[in-house]
Symmetry: D2
Subunit: 338 residues, 4 copies
């Protein structure tokens, strides 16, 4: 349920509504919109009557939300969520490109790539320190050492860092390094991790699970928001289908579908979705044209020797071409790249 407050409602009226909600064993969530304030209600006893609130001061409207997700829904918050980081943002008119190698492999490697990406104007470096791999015998990441190198890159080059949290234990250390914490596809329904990450104050990038419907995905985001962290972006990276020419099936329709149902920004990851270097450029263009708020692309100096996911990484000059084309598409659909 959602309480729409009148324009310029005094703080005391707002507080009274929130008190009322708490007195009914539910939890109020303030959701500021561009003009009016809404108060979302979550909790086990969600079967409340509208009447309770309708006669309270400054209450404008009471909206029943029928979807299982609430805090992430457009009904709850009409305006796009824009996640601000330093002087830039993800969501809204801006179009962001996040780039980097799959994993941190060595100090040298990450500095080389990061340096080159910075020169191309990239602000967010992606790279994994902890790598969830389907085989226990595959490279699992440099772990703490990897985070250390990322921290150095951040300090020396001024890049913001996107890196994955595999479990709760790594969160404290990771939070010191990461500007955006990524939750991987295989952890999309690791509800304990979602809850813990919901208690941090870092922006979260939640990747879609291989078998997750859009609804499952939004429900997982709901876990994070309902624990207090409202800065969540959703990342489409392909679902599992019968088609085998591409690693996954890139569900680009999910971008406008999510945008209609939710206020959260959507990132598209053409590298993991296709698993094929030569498909990254056309699918990056397509993702932007479909309305993605950001792209995440794998770039590697020497993909043949990459310790993970080499076949999908772009070479730096291929990435430069991608940036050029993406910029043109972005302009056509009224977005700028800052």
């Amino acid at each position: 349920m959602l309480i729409m407050m009148k324009l310029d409602s005094p703080r005391e009226h707002i507080e009274k509504v929130k008190e009322k909600i708490r007195s009914l064993n539910c939890t109020p969530h303030e959701i500021p919109g561009s003009v009016k304030l809404a108060i979302g209600i979550t909790g086990p006893a969600a079967k409340l009557s509208e009447d309770v609130f309708l006669n309270m001061d400054s209450v404008d409207e009471v909206v029943r939300v029928s979807k299982p997700y609430k805090l992430v829904s457009r009904e709850m918050k009409r305006d796009d969520t824009i996640i601000k980081l330093n002087n830039t943002s993800i969501g809204g008119e801006n179009l962001m490109v996040i780039a980097g190698p799959c994993s941190v492999e060595s100090r040298q490697q990450i500095f080389d790539i990061a340096g080159e990406l910075k020169e191309m104007g990239i602000k967010f470096l992606r790279a994994g320190a902890y790598k969830p791999r389907s085989s226990p015998y595959s490279f699992q990441g440099l772990k703490e050492k990897g985070l250390e190198y990322l921290f150095e890159v951040k300090k020396e080059l001024g890049l913001m860092i996107v890196t994955e949290a595999k479990d709760t234990n790594a969160l404290p250390l990771l939070s010191e390094v990461a500007d955006i914490i990524q939750i991987g596809a295989r952890n999309m329904q690791n509800f304990g991790l979602l809850r813990d990450i919901g208690k941090t104050s870092k922006p979260i990038m939640l990747k879609r699970g291989l078998a997750a419907t859009v609804e499952d995905w939004l429900m997982s985001a709901e876990y994070i928001l309902s624990n207090g962290n409202k800065e969540v972006m959703l990342c489409e990276r392909g679902i599992r289908t019968f088609e085998t020419y591409t690693r996954n099936t890139f569900d680009l329709s999910a971008i406008p579908v999510v945008h209609k149902r939710s206020h959260l920004p959507v990132v598209a990851d053409p590298s993991h979705a296709t698993g094929l270097r030569d498909k990254v450029l056309p699918m990056a263009r397509a993702a932007i044209a479909a309305g993605a708020d950001a792209l995440m692309v794998e770039v590697h100096h020497d993909p043949e020797k990459a310790l993970s996911d080499g076949p999908q990484a772009l070479l730096p000059d291929q990435f430069e071409e991608l940036m050029k084309q993406v910029k043109l598409i972005a302009e056509v659909i009224g977005r700028r790249m800052n």
Copy 2:
């Protein structure tokens, strides 16, 4: 197997190679490229030795083709197939938009829509006279009457017609009306129909089946080409997955995948792929950005009263907006719309 002939091979050398192929109980197929001629070989006894041909006059190279499809493959024909119709074409640099209602519903309806589309510069009108429907109780199309109205539209307005063949029996009549014959998703593996249509001289649009891999799809095109008809375009219209927010899952990655493996042009149908009017525009843009050679879009004056697939049809003014945006994307990726 593929025989590459030398530049400017004399006709008699070419004929000798073809004779040799026939003498081995196989069938030769001439495949003109931009500079050189190739001769494809198909047939049950495909286990021939390269040596047989290597020493013949004007033979440049003999290429083993490992994929199960041959005539549709890039190995067989390096240059894009461009299907020319009147003063325009599908494939190559050109970007074509095909539009119209799902079905012909009445003389009035089809003339109204066709007239308006013509004014917007549309050259190809799509509309079904025979409608394959999953329920025997649903509207099945106006059949012969529908074809008649389409014929009138063609004569009076000068539009080219794209319409679906449900079975072999309707082919003779359909061929008099259609400029492009469509094979629907449910008939993609109706091999008898593919064979018969392969013997016509009309361009064919082959829609991808709901459970068809890209390889299945190319094999179905191979049926048509191996029966003599080389003018085939492939139409991506969504595959069936677990996701239910959209009717199907629009597999846009299939566009660059097909372009790499085959010389045939690819059409994208965002209307059937999503089943949702408000997703057609972003997904049309995305399809173009992914490299589609043509779009096919449903447009209806009064979608609420459409006898089939109303919820996915655009209103004329929505379609006009789509044309505007698509044009801009096309320019960015170096295509023109003629």
Copy 3:
């Protein structure tokens, strides 16, 4: 809509109801139950009021059927459809096993296998004369010659024949040979063929399409029944999923699902569903345990040399073992094999 007639309604009352239905541009279908007669109504103008019928003589009840399928539904016909052929039957308490090679390959081959199967007590021989193959270069069946051999087998050995119709043209000839006409998975939504086959008087085995939901499948059966042919059995043969260790995913839950919703018997085909010889025996047992009314199993003398689907065919002695085990499972769940 369904009109339930009172017990022992006189013929004239029944005829009056049917006349009324026709006067409303709909079609009546008599559906005899074990105690009472029902009259199903189909047709474009299905939005009739119950009142029209409720006051007519001998009308007991008027039931609104909400599912898109009607004639195939349990609401329409409570009792299991039992298809009688010679002295045996498919459906009901009986459990039938249909066996044979994928294709008729030669006169010798089909007589050899048929003879051996007959000795094991098999009454129905399956074998294809027309083979729909995904490649135009694969063996497509012996066609008319194959039907001829099957006809000889039928006459000389007294076996009943199950063979596939690929298209309408072959129906007249096929009907002289086949005791059960099979519609293949790829033709499940070839609606013209379904309509034509619905006008024959041969029992039909309708295989489930690779991407067909249970509802799609029942709707396809509805096409056949609504054209007059009530003797339809449904054949589960696997659906397409992401799993690749088996050729398809055998959806055995579909058996009790169909049995609840429809009165039609269900055949299970573990050979096509798994594509692996050593999985046929356990999955045949599982299909019976799940409630299948019949099994269809591929058997071949020399699978290594089979012209199609060799890797899934059982050798005769493996099939004999299967028969033994299936018999035991059948007894446990209260079925006999005649």
Copy 4:
């Protein structure tokens, strides 16, 4: 790679081989078979030459294992893994049935059901204390309180307990209560949890993920075995497909597929696979007929009031009927229920 030792190899030869393996930075794993000992090798430097071992004392054979999984494979260990618990076992000839409610809801509830199940001869009670739910607003289990009640049931009634671990933090407490620790479908690729659980000495039941291929599933089991815990059973509980009449698609073919590739026992869960009470009995029979080593079935006294998954739980008398029928099927395929 796998080193097969000769019959009755002396301990010192075995130790020398293991030392050699360690000297190459790999890890040796002793795998006792019914007659001979094998030594599996895992580790990053798996590209060893066979020669290194072939000339060592008592080495019989060196087998290259091409599959990405090793310790779980039949090549590594030919004999079925039989997990012994008290006087009974899972795997081998025995057929086990595990039953109980989805969640512990109260002390009274769990004692009532447990008591009744015990009288029916059930030895393993399943019930969740921690419930991973797709919505943050759904009942999440009684947590520690739930474990406490299960501990009481275990002590007072002598039942063995199967319960799920959601994350690493709960493992110490859970290990005191659980006789078998379950890893849920959504955690199948929570690799940190798999690693930690691999270091415990409790038998593990690893449920298959919704989008997991059989190979992914075996790789996840490999994580557990490679960390030292060899007592793993795999639980098939349905995969996600386009079919919606059942909650998931029960992939019963996976049972013989896993049995061929791996020595680990397979449990089948018809309750979660179908999500429908009336499908549990036929699918339980089918699972046994397909070769499952154990069944896990949900039973609840009052499913209408169950706090989770009520619609799929059997009533006690329905479960009693299931036990009767399953016993008969088990006998037919040569298994006993102890």
